[in-house]
Symmetry: C2
């Protein structure tokens, strides 16, 4: 998979390009809302289009447990099941097995874990993950990796990374030996591990690039490490990864993280933050996040952001949103999610336009001057 | 308020007409979705328009307690607060005080009750209810009545009815002495009481009609009485109420009730049933209600109703809706509510067209032949 029409910032590593899937072209840098269980929480496919979402992410782990692959296969794939006709990326399921699952056994072959829903036993391996992602029919498939937990000693990180490399080699070999279930092309991304150790990260990059994946993700970050480590590892990795292929920083993040990671040459992001925060009334604006549930908003009959073009800002006041939150009205989860996803997409588009105009450094300065990360207090 | 372009069925009392408010014309018979706390649960104003909703209802009781009338007044009324530009009817608050509130005192002046949210003390009277509904800015205002509980002896029903009549006279007198808050016309409906006693119902009709309201509602039904009593009382009342004014049967009901009440000459309805049932997975179809959460739907990759034109049926399968319910995904409450409100509106429109075509009795026969009220089991 090539990233084309590539324009790179002269002062930073920021880059704007395009990647093509059989469900559509994606303009980068791009943010991917997370559709955990076959739904980007509270949003319909129309809402996603309306907020200018280009590609969404589905979670293999969640979909495997519910509704199960048989139902998605009989539906004709996840696109059809959830009525999303745009590009779709699926993760490998590995991360959730470790972070959410009740892990029973991990060995060279793969992992056995219990469902958090009904306690039933399930297995994941490179081959099983590829089979499931073929059934999901995602345009971009992720290799099955061992997401190194944080903190990890260098020795432990190396052991985990080497297991990842063996699993990814198996993922690739098996993936290339199987056919798409629904006729259209699927691409496979490798995932760089190596924790916070630059040497391991370099080794991981080189190993994966030799395997020749269709694109590359940076995994094992945003898992509790200091921000400077996240940025330093991203910087190391983007220096090595092939420039003509997309790079995806997994699980990141806050708006300020996206801006910095774009400056380091990342093309793709995913994170539950905009939708999860929306459901808690934390709304993103160009001046920073605000809590629309705060008492001070109770009679503010103005939108979250007067210049925002999202459906929520075009139609509803902060006072109304606050009221809906206080009254536990279902409508507000959608309105808040629409705004936050629209904001994230607008942020990416603004960065893309700045890169194309040769003005990314100016954008970056202006963003950090205007965006107050602490405006809503601690929003984690 | 006149109901115009009136066409009446020759064999039944069913009628089709039009009523005009300053927020739009309403074609009758009409169903009004309930926007309890300033939101028809899970639906946006755009969803309401998309489902062909003509008029919605707001609850004085809920809005008084939260967000409170000050905030709605500073927003410029409920239309602006909730971004609904179509016709709006508000109830008087009386019914909820009795059914939901913690009633402290009831006397000739009015009622004092405690908030179910924070325990604070509130007062409602004919005059206060009119003031609040002026502030809400509803196109149709309901007189403040005492909703007679069921069962009631004839003596108790008479006492309650007479209090209602005194309260409604005060409502009318006070309403006519006050001005709209936002410049546009508001109309006041009286509410017929009298429990299940034809004699009281007749007295109530005659008393209210002499007061000369803008329209008339039938209250105190669908409160636990046998269906035949509900129909019999409706039949008695619609024989007396002036033909040139709208009649509104409050709190009704199931599709089969709507069809029968239309045959008795009712023009307007409201009920939480379509939205509440939607949130529990009970979906209305022309063959009767179905539970989309049922195991048999798990791999049915077809819409709820293949002929339905709602957004949900046009895009999503029963299997997907069931999955979303099982996964507690917020999206499903909206999709299910869209379908049920669309169904109710389509039912009303079908009845209207049948009346206009002179084919209402045929419609009624066909509906009862096709619609299995017990299809989903007990759906209450």
């Amino acid at each position: 998979m090539q990233i084309v029409d590539l324009k790179t910032c002269l002062e930073t590593k920021a880059r704007a390009g395009k990647i093509t899937t059989e469900h559509g072209v994606i303009e980068t840098p791009v943010f991917m809302p997370v559709g955990t269980a076959g739904s980007v929480k509270a949003l319909s496919p129309d809402d996603l289009i309306e907020t200018e979402t280009q590609i969404i992410l589905g979670n293999t782990y969640h979909l495997l447990l519910r509704p199960g692959t048989e139902i998605i296969q009989s539906a004709g794939g996840l696109h059809k099941f959830m009525s999303w006709s745009g590009p779709l990326l699926s993760d490998s399921g590995g991360y959730q097995v470790f972070s959410l699952g009740r892990l029973n056994k991990i060995n060279e072959a793969g992992v056995i874990f219990r469902s958090r829903i009904d306690g039933s036993s399930h297995e994941l391996s490179p081959e099983i993950s590829m089979d499931i992602q073929r059934i999901l029919g995602s345009d971009i498939v992720m290799a099955f990796d061992d997401c190194t937990s944080y903190p990890a000693t260098q020795a432990a990180a190396k052991t985990s990374m080497e297991l990842t490399h063996r699993w990814e080699a198996r993922s690739l070999q098996y993936f290339r030996s199987t056919e798409p279930c629904y006729g259209y092309r699927q691409e496979l991304f490798g995932i760089v591990q190596g924790s916070v150790y630059p040497k391991l990260r370099k080794t991981s990059c080189q190993t994966l690039v030799e395997m020749n994946f269709d694109g590359y993700a940076i995994g094992g970050l945003s898992v509790g490490e200091p921000k400077q480590d996240m940025y330093a590892m991203t910087d190391v990795v983007t220096d090595i990864l092939p420039k003509e292929q997309p790079r995806y920083l997994m699980g990141v993040g806050k708006p300020e993280d996206l801006v910095l990671a774009v400056s380091l040459g990342v093309d793709m992001f995913d994170c539950v933050l905009p939708t999860r925060n929306a459901r808690h009334g934390i709304m993103f604006t160009w001046k920073g996040p605000i809590s629309v549930k705060a008492a001070r908003e109770k009679d503010v009959h103005e939108p979250l952001d007067a210049e925002c073009e999202c459906y929520s800002c075009q139609n509803f006041s902060r006072a109304y949103l606050r009221h809906l939150f206080k009254a536990n009205e279902l409508l507000v989860y959608r309105l808040a999610s629409i705004h936050n996803i629209h904001f994230y997409n607008a942020l990416m588009k603004t960065m893309r336009n700045a890169i194309l105009a040769g003005e990314f450094p100016q954008f970056q300065t202006s963003f950090y001057n205007t965006y107050n990360v602490n405006r809503a207090g601690d929003i984690d």
